[in-house]
Symmetry: D2
């Protein structure tokens, strides 16, 4: 698989394949120098929890004109769509913000990231539900699973939320937390029996099934920017499990330096935006004290938005 | 959510939505009676292993002209593609077989199945890699996981294959199998601590992470026929883990009565077909004893195909 | 392809496939009668423009318990996800509205529609950009394209918008409209040369390339409800071309009677919702007269939302 | 959007985002020099037909260790899947060939290409059916379509095939070809009326609909290697329209230098492979003169394969 890099000198370098025209090499415009948006690194890595990590291992574009970020690829693609039409929206930042505000999502698909990640299986199972991504996961059928398990610290053991059936909230009292961690310890201790089963000849694909879901796995995960933002939007949400939110935060930290303009727009128009329902719009218009709904949950959501907007009905 | 079924009498039934034409109701052709391809059942279910199942809970088309199968929807879609061009290929079975042979896959996407399945988490993790499907899984964050674990019988505990790094082969000796099952028993016994953790207030989303991957989960899984065939092709393969192959077999059993013509073609042109590589084609043409490769694995594959084809070079 | 419908009497009907358990037939619950959500129709069709149409030709679920709509399949799928957790959200309508409000989109993927549509090629080219759908299109390579072209009425010939580079607005003066329609007439007249080329033996796949993009094509288009709503959201938008909006309106009219609860929620939480950006939220909170942006477009958008909300800064 | 490239010196460069660990920069292994797989070019372009082109504008990986090709990213991803299991398959070329032979397609999804292409609309309509790709197309709503149309040379005007309903074969007689080209000329002449309509104020989105399908459009098209190979496999097929085959050939020529090991395997195991159906396998095994089918088309296909394999039944 060795091959010299394409020589940069000649305008026509490849042998003419049967029936096709020759390949014409177009160099960057005079004075443009392409630089690595990852600064020459092989990987940029953020540790998560005890044994996890998210590492950015590649990006498209990997090379950008010096002085620009990977945001440039979004602008490049948008300009082909809108052709001369974008002359008016001449500033790049304005264009990216316009695209984000108006759900023109396809130019954001023109940027791609590849991550190498390690996470517990219960996190991996939430993550994999994002279907528009490419994945290669470590296989417990081919290979021995390493002896690595997620165990939260005592203060991170959360109490079952009463208001939110799917979530946890606040730390639990220390005794209960410690008994929970003992239980995790007992589940991790099964690793010894996993090992022994394999020594006795049991197929790896079976031996692993007694190991707990806190076991770490790892994968390469490749995703375009639009779908990465979808992942962040859903997995940074207050309803997502705390552990996967930690992974989402790491992912954000890694990509923000590469596409800073996009991430700023994403913050302004998505993450920190507020969506008002038809009922809420009507309540604001009419000055009514509440929305026209008997659903207590929906009413509570409106109260919370109303407060966030500083719209007090009393005054 | 109650609503009377659309009345069948009037040719125009819906109020004209603003700016649209009225809805015109076209009845089936004279003499055609639509019947339920699932025979009036709410679900058709096949048990798998100790606590698992695959159940067909819906199909598109659900109603087919009496005397026809759901294969009819494939023909219907193909005929719009090929228009008058399909008059010559006038027989339906011939058309379906032609489509399958020539990789015209889109008409097979016009049939859809919905399954309700229960399977161990390690099986679910392989299954979910098929991305072109719709899934709703039971959530261990919202709800308590029931006390159900997969445990193979002694004779189903497989030995690690030597030739196939990812697989198991044949039963292991009884002593080792029993020690493996004891280990599974120990992992299942953690269920009691899972319960206790919840009683002490630990969030369900955390409490579950000490439970083993043999724990059963369940989901609705909806997939078109083309992608269901892809699933079957990959998960019935000899390299797939035995447990998921059992699920694939159940799925096949459920859909075969609904699309018998397609499944026959799938068997003839995919499952029981043999693909010859360029090297193998050349070996057959030239009558050479082996293929032109130094790769021992590739050579062994050729030997195996050669024998399957009854092409003995020596004689 | 003839096969008797599955007999409804016996609990076990299929021959046991090798290695699988028998198929168990589960009838609907006592007293539940399944009825066709399409009211026995083969298709429900809405005419669009001069030669176009959208026809609903199948739905999943096609059969629903009498007195219910296809919305029931969303609830069924959601309840498997949320298990016992949904006991509290006991009312179906409330559950569907909750799912829509909180972007729990997967249960909406459990409903599927199949449409037969005819539309001009320039509309088809916008439509096909929705990738999560199954499509079988009429082929101009296999078959002769029928002599059908889209031609708007004089009053529907739109003037280029000045504010919106991609759109049209209001009718143009009659003379210009008539000259435009003459031009379309000239493009349609090429059909005669298309026919003659074929008579002289030119391949259909070439002969068609001189026909204009106003030529009608047709296809089967199958899509789940979640992605159908995405289609509606984008194609009913004021920035979408008027012609495809007419198709979207027809699609809405066809599905609303089948999933009325979903469509009401979609209207309340998506179509008639207003999204406030971070800048707009801050302007409301602070009572500032405008948003903190120098972008004139963004400022104008805020003005328009402010008016819609009845939030006048001056008063 | 200006930003200095990430400085390469410090191991920790980014400010610590709230709640996340610092970013750790991992440099390439000692002695490894990363080089641009596109040899420093901004684009590598192949002309197609009169006004078309396919240009490779980016690749992931864009940087590879000196002496290696982009194939390296496939091996990297596969090794995470198979972990220690791949030690035995130690040679990279062997591993890639093994993956291709055994349909382990996910590692090939870890390579991504971005193309800029110009093609006639009738070609674009075939191309866009490949759904697993990202696309930004030039918009005739925003911008004026340039005056460029596809017109084959006289000798490229094909006769309708008699054996293949969807295809053309061999050149047609010159007179018919010339009359066909006259017809195309007439369709192109409408461009003047397109221009005039716009001058008179007709919206661009309408003015364009009278232009023929031979009009050129252009787009950015981004696709992973696995799906690019699917595109090539289907669009280089003898049943694909000649014009899109020319584009596929250009695409092949562009990517082959970047992933030469993959393309060799693709040729050996896919493009130049022969698939034998169950019926054909049985015919070979039994030495029967023909296959057990009454379908004349299927019998003819077998005859053609039999000849290709040099298996003459007579002798």
């Amino acid at each position: 698989m060795t091959r010299a890099a394409l020589p940069a000198e000649s305008p026509i370098v490849e042998p003419k394949p049967a029936g096709t025209e020759p390949i014409r090499r177009v160099p960057p415009a005079e004075g443009v120098r392409l630089v690595d948006v990852m600064g020459g690194a092989e990987r940029l890595e953020v540790r998560v929890h005890d044994h996890g990590f998210v590492a950015l291992v590649d990006a498209m574009p990997r090379l950008a004109p010096e002085g620009q970020t990977a945001d440039a690829a979004i602008v490049q693609a948008a300009r082909v769509s809108y052709g001369q039409g974008t002359k008016q929206v001449s500033e790049d930042r304005g264009l990216i913000r316009y695209l984000m505000r108006h759900r023109h999502t396809t130019p954001f698909e023109m940027v791609e990231f590849k991550f190498h990640c390690a996470m517990p299986i219960f996190v991996a199972r939430q993550w994999i539900r994002h279907r528009t991504a490419n994945v290669n996961e470590y296989s417990g059928r081919y290979s021995v699973m390493p002896d690595r398990f997620y165990r939260p610290s005592v203060e991170k053991v959360r109490r079952q939320s009463k208001s939110n059936r799917q979530g946890g909230e606040g730390p639990i009292e220390v005794g209960a937390a410690e008994r929970f961690l003992e239980y995790l310890g007992a589940s991790e201790a099964l690793y010894e029996r996993y090992t022994r089963s394999q020594e006795e000849g049991v197929a790896r694909e079976l031996a692993r099934i007694g190991l707990p879901q806190s076991l770490y796995t790892e994968w390469y995960w490749k995703c375009d920017l639009h779908n990465t933002l979808r992942f962040l939007s859903l997995r940074l949400d207050a309803h997502a499990q705390e552990e996967i939110r930690d992974y989402a935060r790491a992912m954000w930290a890694l990509i923000e330096p590469l596409v800073p303009v996009t991430m700023e727009a994403f913050r302004d128009y998505e993450m920190e935006s507020v969506r008002l329902t038809r009922l809420e719009v009507e309540a604001i218009r009419s000055g009514a004290p509440g929305i026209d709904s008997t659903n207590s949950r929906e009413r509570a959501e409106w109260e919370s938005k109303r407060r966030a907007l500083g719209l007090d009905p009393a005054e």
